[in-house]
């Protein structure tokens, strides 16, 4: 009964924060199959470590730590990213409707992020998710000042990569 209750609580929390796993998988694994494998591995690791969640940080912060740690140390799964579609492979065809245009931009952003290093991907992901630098420090273990410097460089790097794709420069 206690186990059932624990499972129920876990599933509820995971469902509430499912976006975290989904985004980490999208950023760290390119192909659908690799994403599914990574998704399952993250869920398994979250469940295995669920007892260690003491509530000192928010559940989402804890979840980001486990998900990013799993994704970065799961080198075998990441290798498959190499064969994923890269930003330069894509045919740029921006549609007229704003929603479709946004979808296209989002896909280009994902592709640009996948070209970054593992650490850079984590920083950009947390930035896009609107985490403060303090929270990013808590998740990544890197000092706030260093994160700001890295983030400024990353903004420029991504802007250049996206512009190269869109304008073909």
């Amino acid at each position: 009964m206690q186990q059932e209750q624990k499972e129920k609580t876990f599933i509820e929390l995971i469902t509430r924060h499912k976006g975290i796993i989904h985004k980490v998988c999208n950023v760290y694994a390119g192909e659908l199959h690799a994403q599914q494998d990574l998704y399952q591995e993250i869920v398994v690791q979250l469940w295995k470590n669920f007892e260690k969640f003491e509530g000192r940080s928010s559940f989402s912060t804890w979840m980001y730590r486990v998900a990013l740690n799993t994704a970065i140390s799961n080198y075998r799964l990441q290798k498959r990213v190499l064969s994923a579609t890269t930003i330069t492979d894509q045919v740029i065809n921006l549609p007229d409707r704003p929603s479709e245009q946004q979808e296209e931009q989002l896909q280009q952003l994902y592709s640009a992020i996948r070209q970054l290093s593992d650490l850079e991907r984590a920083i950009v992901l947390l930035y896009l998710e609107d985490h403060s630098y303090k929270e990013m420090e808590e998740i990544l273990g890197i000092k706030e000042g260093a994160l700001r410097v890295k983030m400024n460089r990353l903004k420029e790097k991504i802007r250049q990569r996206l512009n190269d794709t869109v304008y073909g420069t």
Binding site: H22, K23, V44, N69, Q105, L106, E138, N163, V166
Partner: protein, 208 residues
Amino acid sequence: MIPCMELDHLKSIWQKKADAPDISQQKLLDMLNQPSSGPVASMKRNVRFEFISSLFVYGLSALLFFLWDRRMYWEVALTFVVLGLLFSVYYGFKMRLLNHMQCLTCAVKSHLQKQLHTLEQYVRIYFWTATLVVPAMLIYFGWLGFHKKELYGLPSKFGSFSAIALPYIAVTLLITVLLYFGNKTYVKRMYGKHIAHLKSVVQEMNEE
């Protein structure tokens, strides 16, 4: 219309559009019972398999020598028992390292540092054990044959240093050198990329 490709502009699109697809509760429940497919979990599975295999091989060898002629081969049988025990300690130590290799709930930097440090330790232990165990056994059995040649019915020239011992030492040295380079290549192929990957992330994290 020319799209704005600034990250801060894309951030709002990301937050609006990057929704996760629904996943059924049953599917999530099924996932909870699945074994981990991560590298540490598969290394643990390998260690368990090697442990059981070595217990079987050394145990069976000890038993066979003991049953064959216990007066003559009890030392050989005992050697296999000792080897089995030593390998159990070795696998226990490897398992302990694997159990301490991950801290998934820690901050990413400390998790990766821990994993890198423990993995390097694990690889070092594996490398030296795999390189030295065969020469050590050859030296021991050579020594046993040299001292018990009459008992084992070995030719008398087995006592001659230049006729037997010198070539035996030369072959043992050659095997050791081959094992050294063979294991070095194997370890590099098995763990080299993963260690290099961890090192590069940790190094990047330490850069200001």
